[in-house]
């Protein structure tokens, strides 16, 4: 029961922020002796720094996900002997320094496939692979 009351109060407080109204927070902080302008300036400085880092972090994670997906699709294509992806992989191997290491596609592990495709346009590759599988 007590927690239910607290929950309702919390929802009321947070809903103001979601509605874009921070005046209550500002009033509370003022009453506690905080300088709102100072807090906002400091927060803005940190937002600028962090939004840049967050973008880089998300892009990196997105690339990792794409690499995972594309490698898994290629491995699957090798197992099912699908022509187009196999030709694509072969051309990649033939055109780079991996040609000696990876002659037998069947023996390629997921990490080796990742190594081979990591510098390619993964989004484009993934679209192509998904189309090939249809």
């Amino acid at each position: 029961m007590k927690n239910n009351f607290i929950k309702k109060i919390d929802k009321a407080i947070i809903s103001q922020i979601i509605e874009g109204d921070s005046s209550t927070y500002d009033e509370i902080l003022k009453e506690e002796g905080f300088d709102i302008k100072e807090i906002e300036t400091y927060a803005l400085k940190n937002f600028r720094k962090h939004s840049f880092l967050l973008k880089a972090h998300i892009n990196k994670q997105r690339d990792t996900d794409l690499l995972e997906k594309a490698s898994a699709l290629l491995q699957n294509a090798i197992a099912k002997n699908v022509d187009k992806p196999i030709s694509y992989l072969k051309s990649l191997i033939a055109n780079n320094q991996f040609q000696v290491q990876y002659r037998n596609l069947d023996s390629l592990g997921i990490d080796e496939i990742k190594e081979i495709i990591k510098d390619q346009n993964l989004l484009e590759l993934l679209e192509q692979l998904e189309n090939d599988q249809k």
């Binding site: 927690n3 607290i6 509370i28 927060a43 880092l53 967050l54």
Partner: protein, 200 residues
Amino acid sequence: MKSDNRIVASFDEKCKAIQEIYTPEFYADLFKHAIIRLKTVFGIKYNHDKGFRGIMVEDMINDTIEAFFKEGGRNWYPEKFPDFRMQIISALDSVISNTLNAELDKANETFEILENDIEMSFDDSDYQSLLSICHDELTAMGATDYELLLFEPYIINGMKRNDLSELLGISNEELTNIKKRLDRKLPYIKEKLKVLNYEK
């Protein structure tokens, strides 16, 4: 995507949402929210230049947001929190509590309101007692009769502004002003309820 039978947003959905909601204003709101939480829950008056024992609010905010974009990191449950900002605030509350409890080495009974969505049934006697405690606290903080009148339908019963305006026979503008005055008192009421040894 489902996890524990709950729908969770995909990485792409989270990316799309963060682009829309991650603004300087929201970041400042998170900062203010954290400072208020430190004050009301832990009694800490935060200094943004010095931090608190090496704990910086910006680090807690940044870690909270990044955790949603790490493999195996935090989930967004859109059914429970249709607005991603609510999920972030809830997560930030958890991070603050965990960080501060670890630092202060004390078991604060921090009830994570948004993480715990269990609806409890209302029992009349408990309800009236709690309402009375809230009213007493509001009165002690100098709340007006209108603020007292508004507390139950607005906060506890979640009535809409238009309905309240009609019910109380006051204009929307007047209602907004009363509501704002009441809102400012809510964090203190909440903390007062928390420390009460009243749980049924």
